[in-house]
C-alpha cells in the first residue's frame, strides 16, 4: 500500500493551490456578496487544463488521472465551493458522462469542446417535484422522425444560465418509471429552450443556480446520450463521478476553515491566554484535523478505485456523505471559534458554513447516502456491471 502522491500529483496540487490562492481567494468574497458568477475564471481554468483534467488528450483533455480531479476539487473548494461546483457540474456530470456513455462521434463533437473549456456543460436531472426521487421526474421526450421533442422543466440546476451544453433527463416512456428515462444533450440556442437564475439562496452565492424550461425543444437523435431508457443509469453513474468531486471539495472546505481557526485561536486572547490554550477550543480544532484526514483518505480511495476501473458507488457515497457533513460541522465550529467575528462576513468563515449546507443536499442528500450505505451493509444491494463503465486510467491511451 502506498499513500504517497507521485510527482505529477504533487505538481498539480502545487499549481492549483497557487491558482486558488492568487486568482480566486482575493476576489471570491466580493463575488459572493454581490451574488455574481465569476465568469473570468473559466478561461483561466481552461488554460491550466482544469476544465478537462482527467479526459484523454485525444478528446481535448489534459490527460491526467482521476486522483488529479480530486486534487483540483479539493484546492478549488478551499477557495470557494462555487468554483468547485463548476468543475463538478461541467466536468464530472457532463463531460465525463459523454466520455463514459457517448459514441465516438459524440466524443469528437461534444466532449472535445467541453474538455478544452471552449464549451461549458451543466446537468439537469432535478425538477421542482423530483429531487431524491428521480423516477418521479415529469419532463418528456417524444420521438418525431430523427428527432425528439422535449417538454418540461428542470430546477436547481447549477450553471443553468452559463452552460452551452445542457445534459437533461426526460421520460421517453413514462409508464416504465425509472426505466423510461433517457438522457439528451441540449445546445444553447435550440428553439424552445430557456433558462433563468434562482435568487435568494442560503449559500454558494458566487455560483449560478437556476432553472431550465423546455417548450417543445427539438433535439436530434444524435444528441441522445446512451440508449433510450438508459437515462437512469447514465444519471447515477454521472453522480458517482460528481459525488467524488464533492467529497474531495468538502475536504478542501475543512482545510480552509481549519487554517482560519488555527490562526485565529492563536491570536485571540480571553481570560489571559490564547483561546487555543482552552481545551474546549482544542477539541474543535482536533476534530477538524481528524475529519480532514478521514475525508481525504476516503476521497483518495475513490480516486484510486476509479484509476483501477473498479466500480465505486458505495465508496463514493461514503466519501460524499462523510466529507460534506464533516465540512458543515467544521465550518460551524470555525464560526464558533471566531465568536462574533465568525458571525460577521469579515473573516469569511460564515461563507463556508452557508456553502457547506448545500453540499449535504445536492448530489444525494445525507439521508439518501445513509439509506444507500444501509442497503450495502445489509447485503440488499449489489452493483451490476454497466453497459458503459468509466474506463480505467491508462496513461498511454490518455496521452496519445
Amino acid at each position: 500500500m502506498d499513500f504517497a502522491f507521485i510527482t505529477e500529483h504533487e505538481m498539480v496540487q502545487k499549481t492549483v493551490r497557487d491558482f486558488a490562492e492568487k486568482e480566486i481567494r482575493p476576489v471570491i468574497g466580493e463575488y459572493d456578496r454581490e451574488h455574481k458568477y465569476p465568469h473570468f475564471l473559466l478561461p483561466k481554468m481552461a488554460e491550466l487544463g482544469v476544465m478537462g483534467i482527467c479526459i484523454p488528450v485525444r478528446y481535448g483533455g489534459a490527460g491526467m488521472d482521476y486522483i488529479s480531479l480530486g486534487i483540483v476539487s479539493e484546492a478549488l473548494e478551499w477557495a470557494d465551493a462555487s468554483v468547485r461546483e463548476t468543475i463538478a457540474v461541467h466536468l464530472a456530470l457532463n463531460a465525463m458522462t459523454v466520455f463514459q456513455w457517448g459514441t465516438e462521434e459524440q466524443k469528437q463533437r461534444l466532449l472535445a469542446p467541453l474538455a478544452t473549456g471552449a464549451k461549458v456543460g451543466c446537468f439537469g436531472l432535478t425538477e421542482s417535484g423530483a429531487g431524491s426521487d428521480v423516477a418521479a421526474l415529469k419532463a418528456t421526450a417524444r420521438k418525431d422522425g430523427d428527432d425528439y421533442i422535449l417538454d418540461g422543466e428542470k430546477m436547481w440546476i447549477t450553471l443553468a444560465d452559463v452552460a452551452d451544453y445542457l445534459l437533461v433527463f426526460a421520460k421517453t416512456d413514462p409508464a416504465k418509471k425509472h426505466r423510461g428515462i433517457t438522457a439528451f444533450m441540449l445546445e444553447r440556442g435550440m428553439a424552445g429552450l430557456s433558462t433563468g437564475a434562482i435568487e435568494d439562496k442560503m449559500g454558494v452565492w458566487a455560483s449560478n443556480t437556476g432553472w431550465i424550461a423546455m417548450n417543445a425543444v427539438r433535439v436530434p437523435a444524435r444528441n441522445r446520450i446512451g440508449e433510450e431508457g438508459e437515462g437512469f443509469k447514465v444519471a447515477m453513474s454521472a453522480l458517482d463521478n460528481a459525488r467524488y468531486t464533492v467529497a474531495a471539495g468538502a475536504s478542501g472546505g475543512i482545510r480552509a476553515v481549519m487554517e482560519a481557526s488555527l490562526r485565529y485561536s492563536q491570536e485571540r486572547e480571553t481570560f489571559g491566554k490564547k483561546i487555543a490554550e482552552h481545551q474546549l477550543v482544542q477539541q474543535m480544532l482536533a476534530k477538524m484535523a481528524l475529519n480532514y484526514d478521514i475525508a481525504t483518505l476516503l476521497w483518495q480511495r475513490v480516486g484510486w478505485l476509479k484509476n483501477q476501473g473498479v466500480r465505486n458507488t458505495r465508496e463514493t457515497s461514503q466519501a460524499k456523505w462523510f466529507a460534506t457533513e464533516a465540512a458543515w460541522e467544521a465550518a460551524s465550529d470555525a464560526v464558533q471559534i471566531h465568536g462574533a467575528y465568525g458571525f460577521s462576513a469579515e473573516y469569511g468563515v460564515e461563507r463556508y458554513l452557508r456553502n457547506a449546507k448545500g453540499a449535504a443536499i445536492y448530489e444525494g442528500t445525507t439521508q439518501i447516502h445513509q439509506l444507500l450505505q444501509a442497503t450495502y451493509a445489509l447485503g440488499w444491494r449489489r452493483d451490476k456491471p454497466l453497459r458503459c463503465e468509466l474506463p480505467a486510467y491508462d496513461p498511454e491511451y490518455w496521452q496519445e
Binding site: 507521485i6 505529477e8 505538481m11 498539480v12 491558482f19 488554460e47 490527460g63 491526467m64
Partner: protein
C-alpha cells in the same frame, strides 16, 4: 537563440521563520522548498522571450537530488530541457564555476537568465561571478526585455531610481527583477510531461572541473533580533504622514 535559466530550490519564505540557526548551519532544512521566487521571474522572461523572438529555453540548477523539483517546475512552465549539476557544498563562486563549465560544455547558449537574488543566500553574486567566469557581459536589474536579435539583446535596467535602456551583444548573462513579469502557471499537460522526464545529472568531474572548495566560510548563524513592534497614536494626519516618510514607508 538558446536561452538557459539558472534556478535554485530555496526555502519557502513563508516558512523561513521556522528555521532554526543549527538547521541553517547544517544546510539540512526540514521546511518546504520551492523554486526561488526571483528565478520564477527569470523563467517567465526567458520563456516569454523565446515565444516572442524564437528559440528554446533550458533550465539548470546546482544542488542535491531535491533540486530536481525546481527543474521540473521549469519544464512545466515551458522549458524544453533540464540539467542537474549535483553538488551541495558549493558557495556562490563554486556554483558559478560549475554553471560556467556546464555552459561551456553545452556550447550553444546565447543568453543566460537568472533571478536577481536567492531568498536564502541573498548575495546576488552568482550571475556576476558566472559572467566573470564565462567572460561575458552581465546586465543586472533587468526589468524589461525590449528586443532580442540573433546576436544581441536590448533591455531596460533599473539602477536605483534610474531606468536605463541597454543593448549588449550575445552571449550575455542577465539577472532579472520581479517587475519583468508574473510567472505563468504551468499547464497540466506540461506538468504531466515534466513529471515523467528523466533529467540528466552531471557532476564536477563530468564537467572536467575540480569540485570547487568554498571561498566563503560561514562561522556563525543567528537569527536577526526580533523587530520591535509597537503601536503609536498620532493626533493628526500630517504627523502620521511625516512619521511614515521618516520610516520610508511612503
Amino acid at each position: 537563440m538558446k536561452y538557459l535559466v539558472c534556478v535554485k530550490q530555496a526555502p519557502d519564505t513563508a516558512e523561513l521563520p521556522k528555521v532554526k540557526a543549527e538547521e541553517a548551519a547544517s544546510g539540512e532544512l526540514s521546511i518546504q522548498l520551492v523554486v526561488n521566487p526571483w528565478d520564477e521571474h527569470a523563467l517567465e522572461s526567458a520563456i516569454q522571450s523565446s515565444e516572442d523572438y524564437g528559440g528554446s529555453v533550458g533550465v539548470i540548477t546546482v544542488g542535491g537530488e531535491k533540486a530536481i523539483d525546481a527543474l521540473r517546475s521549469g519544464l512545466a512552465m515551458g522549458c524544453a530541457e533540464a540539467t542537474l549539476i549535483e553538488d551541495t557544498e558549493a558557495d556562490a563562486w563554486g556554483v558559478a564555476t560549475l554553471l560556467a563549465a556546464a555552459i561551456e560544455q553545452m556550447g550553444d547558449v546565447d543568453l543566460v537568465f537568472t533571478g536577481q537574488l536567492t531568498v536564502d543566500g541573498n548575495s546576488g553574486m552568482v550571475p556576476i561571478a558566472l559572467a566573470r567566469k564565462l567572460g561575458w557581459p552581465v546586465l543586472t536589474g533587468v526589468a524589461k526585455i525590449i528586443e532580442v536579435t540573433d546576436d544581441s539583446i536590448v533591455v531596460e535596467r533599473v539602477v536605483g531610481e534610474a531606468r536605463l535602456t541597454v543593448k549588449t551583444q550575445a552571449p550575455a548573462v542577465l539577472s532579472v527583477i520581479k517587475e519583468i513579469g508574473e510567472p505563468r502557471y504551468p499547464t497540466f499537460i506540461k506538468i504531466r510531461k515534466a513529471a515523467r522526464v528523466k533529467i540528466p545529472t552531471l557532476t564536477a568531474s563530468d564537467l572536467g572541473v575540480d569540485a570547487p572548495a568554498p571561498v566563503v566560510q560561514m562561522d556563525n548563524y543567528r537569527k536577526p533580533p526580533a523587530r520591535d513592534a509597537h503601536v503609536q497614536l498620532f493626533d493628526n494626519a500630517s504627523d502620521l504622514v511625516d512619521a511614515l516618510l521618516a520610516e520610508k514607508v511612503l
